[in-house]
Symmetry: D2
Subunit: 337 residues, 4 copies
């Protein structure tokens, strides 16, 4: 018996998940969709799926057992609260919400409900390379992790649309979340430094160096470059006490030709993380079918919100800005894995 899913928001990422849930994954059916552009929704919806006028209607629909939220960020809080109100499992694309207060409201609601219902869309945790890296760290044979270097290079961003705040409140969240997860740690403070500006991005402040000071004392050293042109190049390296572990090159054909001995670099995040997205939903479907959620939780979405806020403050102040989280509810005790 497959999970009956409704999707809110059919923009680029919503359409991608629709395709994934319809054609790639098993034990799931898309039975309802809602989009502010009803015409678009009608043209995209799979045969037999209900076209809902509002997210509210979709969440309340009898046919819908679980919800996938791909609407824009500011709409997430209300939709999440609605899902929790009716006790339906929900997958929510990042950002979970757009303010600390919003995160706390969602967290309070879920804690009051008493069972995890929300999975937040940090897909890197489902990537095989990151999982293998974490297994090496967790194994402990290299000693404790001391420094994690996270490199986040994007070929390009839409000029004008991508502002100088976005490396910190949009791009950084992936590095911040994967750092917390890899190191089994929380972020205590954030510093931001701006190197010489790349001329690739016009007025955009790019690249950016961010230092995340973890509660354990480990430091996460992040490079964010969003106009590097040559590809989507994600790197991660953990310096431990007696060894170093790093993400591998992606497994591209090794070509020897006039350009040297070489391997192609992924063009964009879709190419790089396509399997991680599939796996993310595979695990969501399994948990949602049990009426609950797995993977990144509201706690993780809350942490991401705090880090983005602290990073923006740190960019202004030039100083280390603290991240201070509320006590962690028992509900989230085991979700950092």
């Amino acid at each position: 018996m497959s999970l009956q899913v409704g999707i809110i928001g059919l923009g680029m990422i919503g359409q991608d998940h629709l395709r994934r849930l319809t054609h790639t994954l098993s034990d799931v059916s898309v039975v309802a969709v809602a989009d502010i552009d009803r015409k678009r929704a009608a043209s995209i919806a799979p045969a037999g799926a209900e076209l809902c006028d509002t997210p509210h209607a979709l969440i309340r629909s009898q046919k819908v057992q679980a919800v996938v939220i791909c609407s824009w960020g500011p709409a997430h809080e209300e939709q999440l609260l609605e899902c929790i109100a009716v006790g339906k499992p929900v997958f929510c694309e990042k950002p979970m919400v757009t303010s600390e207060e919003g995160a706390l409201r969602v967290m309070d609601a879920e804690v009051a409900f008493g069972r995890r219902l929300v999975q937040v869309g940090f897909m890197r945790r489902f990537d095989a390379d990151y999982r293998a890296l974490k297994a090496v760290i967790d194994d402990g044979s290299l000693g404790l992790p001391l420094i994690y270097r996270s490199v986040h290079r994007n070929a390009s961003v839409p000029e004008g649309l991508y502002t100088s705040e976005m490396p910190l409140n949009d791009t950084l969240v992936h590095d911040a979340d994967i750092s917390r997860w890899l190191l089994n740690d929380e972020i205590a403070g954030v510093e931001v430094r701006f190197p010489r500006r790349s001329r690739q991005g016009g007025e955009l402040r790019d690249p950016t160096i961010v230092l995340l000071h973890m509660v354990s004392g480990a430091i996460v050293d992040v490079e964010i470059s969003v106009n590097i042109e040559y590809g989507y190049d994600i790197r991660g390296e953990v310096s431990c006490e007696t060894g170093v572990a790093a993400l591998p090159n992606r497994p591209a054909t090794v070509i020897s030709d006039r350009y040297g001995i070489r391997q192609a670099i992924p063009a964009d995040f879709r190419e790089r993380f396509i399997e991680a997205y599939d796996q993310e939903f595979r695990e969501w479907i399994a948990a949602a079918s049990q009426g609950t959620a797995a993977g990144p939780s509201v706690w993780d979405g809350y942490a991401a919100t705090l880090v983005a806020d602290a990073a923006l403050r740190a960019a202004q102040s030039g100083r280390r800005e603290a991240v201070s989280m509320k006590p962690k509810a028992g509900l989230y005790a085991e979700t950092s894995r």
Copy 2:
């Protein structure tokens, strides 16, 4: 509407495919099983699946729309012919059959039926690394392929059970099939050479060098080592006119420690090709749902049989032994990709 599948043979590989069809893949259900060990079948069969007394019964079952054959090799021919007789799509593990005559009988039957029904289990063609390598070759920017080196290293084989003929009639078929597919070519002749014997395998003749002379003149240079101990190490490199293309290392964590800077090597074929097996069945399900077959065909199974025979002759004679194939039926015109 999912494809209703029956599985014949629930040994190691049969159980693995059962798990795959039940838990990993979408649009498919296992509705019947048959195994000579009826008790084993009963304990393994998914809830609701029919336990058939014979392969014949399974193939004829009204519930079964498509068949997966995982029985032992000598039984394949009869089961394939039966599937073709009733017009049901069938996936057949290698070896397709065990004699040239058997291959011809299956081919004649399928040609008479007039539509492809059989997919043979050469899973390497579905592996992402091989597909990327083929794309580079087919692209033509490196010129024509002249030499293909295929390295097939196995950690160990069961002593006593794995005979000195098996590198040539069991292991080699993967290298032979992938060579034909990568180079869009056929095999015209086979030579076999035996280097100094490894003491790892006792009396076993190991390793083996095989030269496959392709119709185009390209030479495939195969190393088969079946007791290399350190892992399952599959390599492939194509020397073209103006460049070389090779399979990459598998994407394992890069560890720097007292053993150097290093990446783990897969332990066995399951670890190495797990995704290829999934993809193989994904494409089979799609084709079988249309009442036909895709990927490696009876023609490819026929070629594999001829190459194994020629290799055994070449091992005896020390000379080049010819592979001569019947004319190719139109049915198979496009199956080599």
Copy 3:
């Protein structure tokens, strides 16, 4: 006609250079030595070499055309001034001097002399890998350098002897010098951060992260780990506007065995930089034979002193500490290459 050289100081590094000048390199002879341990000097000195009672005597010796200083740091200033006073070319191991005032006194003397006489022992500039990296950066095809990551990992340091100041005033100088040289830039400010402490070094503050803010705005992000146990692992990576360039793995045999596919990592700096030391002296001999010096200059030694001072201050203050250099004399105009 070979260059007649005198060596001051026959400790570990002095003996290594003696061997190099005697057995490896051409166009040079060691004609005099001086060491505070006269007995050691006598036992080590090559046949026919003069045993000088003092550095002063060696520098003034008629036989000595050029001097190599391998004494301990605090003695360097006086010996350098003496060499300049008599107009003899001199190679001086790092640290050039141990105070900013000392550096200025040596610089003033050399500028007054009017010709470069001093080469400082920053051997990395002579390493083929660093030179190739610099050629890529200088070429400009990747755009301007924005971030340089320098990783400096040492297997171990002598417990007790290596203090928590030494990462900053001893180890860092190599990263600082190579950064100035690679980027054709000067250092304007220094920040120091201490990650979670490694238990490998007992009370030692290790590892260390240093951010060097260059005059251009580029940021150099340094990791210093001095007890990493697994080897001497030097890494460098330059993020430019449209590409990234990095030091390669050292060319060690690629072994596939039970530990994976792997390459050995150098054990220590001697193994890693043995060829760089040879080349450093080759170029020194060529310049000294012309009565002058090449490579790293007093200006570079002065910069190193300022950076070490600023790093120690930054470790205390937790803030960015400025490096402010005097105007650069014309004598040093072309020495950054």
Copy 4:
């Protein structure tokens, strides 16, 4: 006291060695030269060097203690015999001689003399990568070597001048010599196979596969491609009983840009083996200064001649052609290292 050397032949390779002996290496002086083009010799000879009218005159010159032969192959035998006659150490570029009989005459002369005088120019044995590979094999921890794959790819050869025989009697000698040395083995038989012809070389028969059957039973599998266009790409991989060891990539800067993540490949043999040539002469100078020779011997030159002959016969016959060597004189007992 430096070794007084005379050079016969100042073509491309002779000039390169002249430069090496004059400017790079220590303990050696070029005191005489001879070339059939006396004008060229006069313009190139270092100051003070004697211009000899004939090789004979140079070899007999009182000033000359040791000889470097860079003349064309057919002249080598007479010059080597002359050097042996006067008991002078001699370095001889490959081919040592051009016939089996010639090799035997030189060997008989040296054996009669009673001490090694001749070093043959197989420079690969002095390359650090090959030496490291041999150390791994000799160490024995991977078990015995069973298969050695030697890949010899050349960017291009002069059209018209480079004939279809030359892969076998000119290029192959390097692979054959390094195989004997790496495996501590001798060659017993040779097979040659011609894959599909590359269109890069016009009528030239290229590439070539050669199988060398070693006395131990190990097989050396050689790919020779002489018009691969993209660079000079030398590869070597030894399959042992429990592991595999291979030459590494050359240590070129790792660049990430629009062409992928990549490292440059050497352009030609001079770039690839420049340090090996230096080391080859360093060791020759050391041995010649003691009145003898080290490294590749007349025995190795003799073996190379036999292999080239057998390879040419095998190309004709399509069969395995035997290499049968005379018993090895005691003089050469330890020279395979």
